[in-house]
Amino acid sequence: MPTLLIRGGRIVDPSQGIDRTDDLLVRDGLVVAIGQSAIGKVDETIHASGLIVTPGLIDMHVHLREPGREEDETIETGTQAALAGGFTSVACIPNTEPPIDTQAAVEFIHQKAMRADTCNVFVVGCVSRNREGKELAEIGQLVEAGAVAFSDDGAPVYDAELMRRAFEYCRMFDKPIFAHEEVLELSRGGVMHEGLVSLVLGLTGMPAAAEEVMIGRDIALAEVTDGRLHVMHVSTAGGVALIRAAKVRGARVTAEACPHHFTLTDEGLRGFDSNYKMSPPLRTAVDVEAIIAGLVDGTIDCIATDHAPHAPEKKMLEFDRAPFGILGLETAVGLAVTRLVATGRIGWPRLVEAMSFMPAQILGVNRGTLQPGAVADITLIDPNLSWQVNVNSFRSKSVNSPFDSWMLQGRAVVTIVAGRVKYRLG
C-alpha cells in the first residue's frame, strides 16, 4: 500500500490531547507518526494547509434500510453518503426488514459492506427477537458475529422487565443498549412536538414527557442492573437534565444528539412540510438551547445523525401519513460547524470528541484516534468552506432533508478509510 503524507493541516485528536499544525504520515493503512518523524519515502502528499485533520468521523446512528427497503437506501448508497459527509464509520440500526436479529443477518451486512468497499459498517443488533419486544434476541451469538451494540430503535423496548433483562444480559459482553425513549400511550397519533405550534396547527402532539418518562425508566433500570444505557436522539431539556443527574450519580449512561435537534424547532412545521417530521420531534427553542448546553458540558457525549432515508413518494403524503425521519449524513458536519463551532459554543477538540472519539468509545471499536499504529481513518475538513446544500447532489438514494438550499459553513473535503482516499470533494 502507498505511503500517504498529510501535510500542514491542523491536527485535532482529543485521544492524545493534540491540537496543532503538523504533518501526518500514513503507511500500510495505519497511522505511522505525527510531526518531525513524518518523513521518508512518500507516494502521495495531500496538502492540508487550512484544513482540520481529524480521526475519521463516526456516525453511530444510521438507518441503511437494507435489507428490505432498498427503494429508500442501500448499504452501498448509504455508505457513499457517509463518505461524502466525512464519516469513515457508521453504525447501522437493525430496524430493517427482516430485522438484524441473527448471525446470518449480521453477516449479510458485513458482506454487503465489504462489497461496497466504502466506509466501515458496524452492526447494531436487535435487543429482542424480530424486534417484537417479547423475548431477547440471541445476543451472545450476535456479539460473536460482530454486533457492537443492541437496539430496537424505531420503537422503545416497551416491556420494562425485558429491558431490565437486556441490561443484565448485555453486561457480560460489555455492550450498550441504544434506547429509543418514548412512552407510546403518550405519543399515540402524534406527528410533532406538543406545544403552542401543534395546538395552532391542529396536529396531534407528542409531549416532551413521552420521551422523558422513558428516559427516567431506562436510567433507573441501568442503575439497578449496572447496565450500559445509551440514550439515542435526546430532544428535550428535561431529558438532558435527567441524563446529567444520572451521570453525576455515576450511572453508566451515555447520550447522543442529532443535528436537527440542535438546529430546528417546531416552528418549522408551520409549512406542513413532512421533511420536518421526525421522531423524536423538533421541539422548542428552550430544548434546542438545552441540547447545545448538553453538548458543551459533555452531558451529551456525541453527535449522531439518525440518518433516515425515505423515498420521495413516501414523504409526499398527507402529513399524518408521511413516515418519520430525515437524512443526516451529508449535512451533519456543516450543521455542527455552523451551529456549534462557528458560533463559539464548542471548539474543534470537543467537536472531534463528539463525532469521532466518543462514538468509538461507546461502540468499543478501535477507531477515533490518530495514535501511531491506529487504523488510518482520517477526515479532512475545510472549516471555512461556505456551501449550499443541494439534495439533488446527495449520494444518498433519498432527498428527504429540511436543509435543502441552506447555506452552511464547514465541510469534509477528503475522507480516508484505512489509508485509502475514499472521497474527495469536487
Binding site: R188, G189, G195, L196, L199, V200, L201, G202, L203, T204, G271, F272, E313, M316, L317, E318, F319, D320, R321
Partner: protein
C-alpha cells in the same frame, strides 16, 4: 339614462385581495377578513338573501374534493357555486382511485388537468389544502383540514355576529366545547382576534389547553362563570371521532358542566346570541330549547354560509384586472369578461 348594472357584473376582484387561495384565517390581515365579510354581505344583498342566481362565475368549474364526509359544507359550497353560475363537480374519496392507492396530490393533479378553476378541499389531515395549493395551478379553498382550520365556517360565524350586532370589535365571544379538535374554533379564534373581539375559550382542561393564553385569549373551565360576560356563545360539537381517549368521564357529566341550557341562559345577558356550527348534538353541548330560542342564530348561520362561500368563490376565482392583459383560455374563461 343609463341602465344600472347588476352588482358584480362588470367588476373585477379588488386589488386588496391578492390571494388565489383561501387556506386559513391565521395568515389573513384584518383588512382582508373585512373585505371577505363585506363581499359576502354584498352577495347576500344582490341575491335577495342568497335565493337568486347571479351568474358572475359562469363558465367556471369548481370541484368539491372531499376526502372526509360532509353534508352541509359540501352542499353549501355546491349551492353557492351554482348561484354564481359555475359548474360544480363532486369528487369523493370513496369510490375513486384513492382507494387504489393513488396519492392525494396525483388525484388533485388529474382533476386540474381536466381544466378546472378551483378546488374546494376537505381532508382529515391538517395542512393538506396548503400542500395542494403549493402544487396545483388552480385556486384551493379549504373546507376543513382536520382540526386545523375551517375558514368559511369561521367567516360565516363572524358574519352572523356582525350582521346582528353591527360590529365585532369589543364583542365578547365564548367558544365552548371541544376546542382541541375543532377547526371551527381555530378559524373563529383568528378571525375574532384580528377584528378586535374578546375571545374566551371554555371547556374542560383536557379539551382546552392553557397554552391558548399565549395568543392573548382567555381560557376558562367554568361555563357558569363566563356566561354572564358573553355577548355571543358559540357551542362546539364534541368530536368523538377525533379523540384517542375520552377526555371526560361521561357525556352526562360533560353536559352537566358545559351544556348550554335554559338555566344557564337565565344568567346570560338578555341579548346574548347563540351560535352552533352544526351538526348539533342536542342535549350534549346545547339543549333543544336553547337551540330553538329566539337568540339562536343557528339557521341564520346556514344562510350566511352561502353568502360567505359566494364571496370566497368570487374573490378566489373571479375576474381580475390582470386577466385582461393575459391570453385567456377561451374554453374555460369564456363569459368571464365583459
Amino acid at each position: 339614462m343609463s341602465i344600472p348594472h347588476t352588482p358584480f357584473e362588470q367588476e373585477t376582484v379588488p386589488l386588496a385581495w391578492p390571494h388565489r387561495h383561501l387556506l386559513d384565517l391565521e395568515r389573513l390581515t384584518p383588512e382582508e377578513i373585512r373585505l371577505l365579510l363585506d363581499t359576502a354581505s354584498r352577495f347576500k344583498e344582490a341575491t335577495d338573501g342568497c335565493r337568486k342566481k347571479i351568474a358572475v362565475l359562469s363558465g367556471s368549474t369548481i370541484v368539491n374534493l372531499f376526502f372526509e364526509n360532509s353534508t352541509r359544507t359540501r352542499t353549501s359550497f355546491a349551492l353557492a357555486a351554482r348561484r354564481l353560475g359555475a359548474d360544480v363537480i363532486d369528487f369523493s374519496a370513496s369510490g375513486s382511485s384513492l382507494s387504489k392507492g393513488e396519492s392525494f396530490i396525483d388525484t388533485a393533479k388529474n382533476l386540474e388537468a381536466m381544466g378546472i378553476d378551483a378546488v374546494v378541499v376537505r381532508h382529515g389531515t391538517p395542512g393538506t389544502p396548503h400542500l395542494l395549493a403549493q402544487r396545483l395551478g388552480v385556486g384551493v379553498i379549504n373546507a376543513g383540514d382536520g382540526p386545523h382550520e375551517h375558514p368559511t365556517q369561521g367567516l360565516l360565524d363572524i358574519f352572523s355576529i356582525r350582521e346582528r350586532l353591527g360590529n365585532v370589535a369589543g364583542v365578547t365571544v365564548g367558544l365552548v366545547g371541544d376546542i382541541a379538535h375543532s377547526r371551527t374554533a381555530r378559524s373563529n379564534l383568528w378571525g375574532l382576534i384580528k377584528l378586535g373581539a374578546k375571545v374566551i375559550l371554555c371547556g374542560p382542561p383536557t379539551l382546552v389547553s392553557q397554552r391558548w393564553r399565549e395568543l392573548g385569549v382567555e381560557v376558562s373551565h367554568d361555563l357558569d362563570a363566563i356566561v354572564p360576560r358573553c355577548d355571543v356563545l358559540n357551542l362546539l360539537r364534541i368530536q368523538f371521532e377525533r379523540q384517542n381517549t375520552r377526555p371526560f368521564p361521561s357525556v352526562r357529566e360533560y353536559a352537566h358542566l358545559y351544556a348550554m341550557n335554559r338555566e344557564r341562559l337565565k344568567h346570560a345577558k338578555k341579548e346574548l346570541l347563540i351560535l352552533a356550527p352544526g351538526p348539533i348534538n342536542r342535549g350534549v353541548e346545547v339543549t333543544a330549547d336553547v337551540a330553538d330560542c329566539p337568540q339562536s342564530l343557528i339557521l341564520d348561520q346556514v344562510t350566511n354560509g352561502l353568502a360567505v362561500r359566494m364571496g370566497v368563490l368570487w374573490l378566489t376565482c373571479g375576474p381580475r384586472e390582470s386577466d385582461r392583459f393575459v391570453s385567456i383560455d377561451p374554453v374555460h374563461r369564456a363569459g368571464r369578461l365583459v
